[in-house]
């Protein structure tokens, strides 16, 4: 009952935040809302835009859910997203951009796997540093984001640069390697389905398997886990690796679904935006589908707002920030049990 009430309050609260933000920006409220809505859900193209924007949000959000459930405050989704992309582009260099390229979908799968491995490796580093050396994950992951960004810049203008060596971008993947699309005019690609499927798998992993159970136990109480002979360090590293793999997958889906080439603007902060998605999704994989959808819709809708304001997607960031602060504030107020070791 209480849960239902909360679920009902959520969209109302979000709408209130939205209206308030529009007020602050001195935008016509009704017209803006109409534009936002039509931009996100007005026609099939709008729906497609929303779905495509939600996809990396959902995947990085899931990454955050796994890490945070395991008590690891991974802020490095951005870096893991990027390194995933770089790993993918590196594999593409050997499977696609060679005299005898591999068959299209074989390359696609190899690239996607490489992205997952890259993200996982980047997160593993932070997890290992924490478990073995006591380096705070919040700090190491944030710093590794910058390293990843520099690494991407180096690769895009160095070893992975396009063949003509004119712009700091990697070669553009041919359509045969890209994830298949629903139709030529629309952006919707297979990645959307992959993301939703992975949300389901993440749920199963966290709530229906032995490793997921261990991970949640360690996240809720390391002392209790330890007293029951659960290897806390192992569970923590696992949380980071799975989290990084999901963020890397997000990078791969973005690379293979939308971007087709990497440059310094590869990630539009998708890694960071995963955090509010995870929080508003109550750190629950399935609810994250909803929260990612909401934010994806806001991003898609706000593109049309340019008619009124130059603020554009800034508006979305503001809405997101207010929503998260509100959520965290309310949660801190309603949570009666002490929060141990939260951020």
């Amino acid at each position: 009952m209480n849960r239902l009430l909360r679920a009902a309050l959520f969209p109302i609260g979000l709408l209130a935040v939205l209206v308030l933000t529009l007020c602050v920006f001195r935008l016509p409220i009704l017209d803006s809302l109409k534009l936002l809505f039509s931009g996100a859900f007005g026609d099939k193209f709008a729906w497609s835009r929303t779905a495509v924007k939600s996809t990396p949000l959902l995947l990085t959000g899931l990454g955050m859910v796994v890490a945070w459930r395991g008590g690891m405050y991974n802020i490095g989704g951005e870096g893991q997203f990027i390194v995933g992309g770089v790993f993918g582009a590196s594999v593409a260099k050997f499977t696609v951009f060679v005299p005898h390229p591999l068959h299209g979908w074989v390359s696609t799968i190899l690239i996607l796997v490489a992205c997952v491995v890259g993200g996982a490796a980047w997160a593993w580093l932070a997890g290992w540093l924490y478990v073995r050396r006591g380096v705070e994950v919040v700090i190491s992951t944030i710093l590794l984001n910058f390293v990843a960004l520099q690494f991407l810049g180096y690769c895009a203008s160095g070893p992975l640069q396009e063949m003509k060596k004119q712009v700091p971008l990697t070669d553009s993947l041919p359509d045969s390697v890209m994830l298949p699309k629903l139709s030529r005019q629309m952006d919707v690609h297979l990645g959307v389905a992959i993301a939703i499927l992975v949300a389901g798998l993440t749920y199963v992993y966290l709530f229906r398997t032995r490793p997921g159970y261990r991970l949640r136990l360690v996240g809720e109480s390391t002392r209790m886990a330890r007293a029951n002979r659960i290897d806390v360090g192992k569970a923590r590293i696992q949380a980071m690796v799975v989290s990084g793999a999901l963020c890397g997958l997000a990078g791969g889906v973005e690379y293979l679904g939308m971007a087709s080439q990497l440059g310094s603007g590869f990630s539009q902060q998708w890694g960071f935006l995963g955090i509010p998605v995870a929080l508003l999704g109550g750190l629950h994989p399935l609810l994250c589908i909803g929260s990612a959808g909401v934010f994806g819709a806001l991003f898609a809708g706000s593109e049309d707002l340019a008619r009124f304001t130059t603020a554009g997607s800034t508006l979305v960031y503001v809405i997101q920030a207010v929503a998260v602060l509100g959520y965290v504030g309310i949660k801190a107020y309603t949570d009666k049990l002490p929060v141990e070791g939260a951020l």
Binding site: R208, T209, R210, L217, E220, S221, M224, N228, R229
Partner: protein, 485 residues
């Protein structure tokens, strides 16, 4: 001549009576030891004397004048200084700065610090405690930090010096040196009050001894008039009747621990060369005052904490090679026993990791887990609406039942239990005791760690005591408080 009179002081914390109509006299030229078990009220009394705690009733008179109750700075100004058990130094400050800080003066520059700390530095030289004033205190070993703490107190014009368990962190040599200084302070005409729970130390230095138990003064006497057994009996009170059950159920095999040495959380040696045997079908009790290595030993037996050296053999085989099924009921159920924000079902599942009926490969069978959890709730009469209740929503007794039930339902061959009855009401306590006894009768080897003598003697078939990380034989009240050492 300084006198400090405590008259009919009482203090309650909620429902806990910490001090109950306490009257004592302290005077200069004496080392007056206040003895008592953990929770006897020693620290509360000292905090009342030094203004850190305001008594609910009663008076404290310094040379006939009432002291400002509950005002620590004011008490400091009239010459009552306390040397805290947990240091009150600023680790990032230098020795000099810390000493200056204690003088409550202006502290804006190094020159200020130097001037204000001068008396303390002089005193340190007079005592034969050379100090480098410019070293950060955080870098100093604890023994030296304590000297700084003491110098902070004696550099002013204190007449009354209260030492709160000063020997707890010191090595034997450091203890001797500290006692030298205490005697000297006594000769200088200070009124020295010493809180302690180690009998041997008290007997070695005190001129007068006051014993507290459950917030009341049991007795006050000159050192010359008492001996160790008397003091021990005063501290512990009437020993509970020993209803030791004998060895009727004892079975073949069990756990043999040989020369176990175990490190504590601060990498100090918490347990030293402990050797014992727990046979199947018996309960071996480990008694002693908190913090003498019991938790570390319990964790080691439960395979939660590795041993530094020594061996554990199960029925003759190395325990680490072939573990018996171990059940562990940790001391702090809310921290080590349960994840309070998880459901009962999730909390119980931690003991069901190896139960085949609950898993298919790596996947959990949620329905089977719910069935098992509900059956535990029913069989152990845990008061909860369903297995989906959060563990944190249960009362302490029911929380303990959750931990005990999930542990015992695995029929462990080795059961390690720490203070199982702590914080439980009589009914819940009896219930938990019955479960432990039943486990023993079913052939488990039980290691029971308890600081509660009643509990210890009620359940154990044999009893050992832990003092300073070492095992000693049961020899009545004295072994409880470490009187032999």
């Amino acid at each position: 001549m300084t006198t400090l009179r405590v008259e009919n002081v009482s203090k309650r914390f909620g429902t806990l009576v910490a001090l109950d109509d306490v009257s004592v006299n302290f005077q200069s030229g004496e080392i007056h030891a206040v003895l008592g078990e953990n929770g006897a009220g020693k620290s509360t009394l000292m905090n009342a004397l030094s203004g850190f705690v305001k008594p609910d009733r009663g008076k404290i008179l310094l040379n006939g004048e009432p002291i400002p109750l509950g005002l620590a700075f004011a008490c400091k100004r009239i010459g009552i200084e306390m040397i805290h058990q947990h240091f009150t130094l600023v680790p990032a400050f230098t020795v000099q700065e810390n000493l200056a800080l204690a003088r409550l003066g202006r502290l804006a520059s190094t020159a200020d610090a130097k001037k204000l700390s001068k008396p303390a530095i002089d005193a340190s030289e007079a005592l034969g405690w050379p100090l480098v004033p410019q070293v950060r205190t955080g870098q100093l070993p604890v023994g030296i930090q304590q000297r700084v703490e003491i110098l902070k107190a004696i550099s002013g014009h204190a007449d009354v010096l209260i030492f709160d368990e000063p020997t707890a962190v010191l090595s034997p040599d450091e203890v001797n040196d500290l006692f030298r200084v205490l005697r000297r302070l006594k000769e200088e005409g200070k009124c020295v009050i010493l809180i302690a729970h180690k009998l041997s130390e008290v007997l070695g230095i005190a001129d007068r001894v006051t014993v507290l138990r459950r917030g009341m003064v049991v007795a006050s006497a000159l050192r010359a008039d008492v001996d160790a057994p008397t003091l021990a009996n005063w501290m512990v009170g009437e020993m509970p009747p020993r209803t030791v059950r004998g060895t009727a159920y004892q079975m073949e095999g069990g756990l043999q621990a040989e020369r176990l040495t175990i490190l504590g959380d601060r990498r100090e040696i918490a347990v030293r060369e402990a050797s014992f045997e727990v046979r199947r079908g018996e309960i071996l009790g480990f008694g002693g005052v908190d913090g003498n290595g019991q938790v570390e030993l319990a964790e080691c037996l439960a395979q939660v904490r590795p041993a530094l050296s020594g061996s554990q053999k199960w029925s003759g085989k190395e325990a680490s090679n072939k573990l018996p099924r171990i059940g562990y009921v940790p001391q702090d159920r809310q921290v080590d026993g349960l994840a309070l924000r998880m459901t009962l079902q999730d909390n119980m599942l931690v003991s069901g990791m190896d139960r085949h009926e609950l898993w298919i490969g790596p996947f959990v069978k949620l329905k089977a887990v719910a069935r098992w959890a509900n059956s535990l709730i029913k069989r152990y009469s845990i008061k909860a609406a369903s297995a989906n209740d959060l563990a944190g929503s249960l009362s302490g007794g029911n929380q303990q039942k959750v931990v005990v039930s999930r542990t015992l339902d695995n029929a462990p061959s080795l059961l390690v239990v720490v203070n199982p009855g702590r914080g439980l009401d009589i009914k819940a306590t009896e219930y938990v005791y019955d479960m432990i006894l039943a486990a023993r009768d079913n052939g488990a080897a039980v290691a029971l760690f308890s600081t509660d003598l009643d509990e210890l003697y009620k359940l154990s078939d044999r009893v050992l005591f832990m003092v300073g990380g070492e095992l000693v034989e049961d020899s009545g009240a004295a072994s409880m408080v470490g009187g032999d050492r």
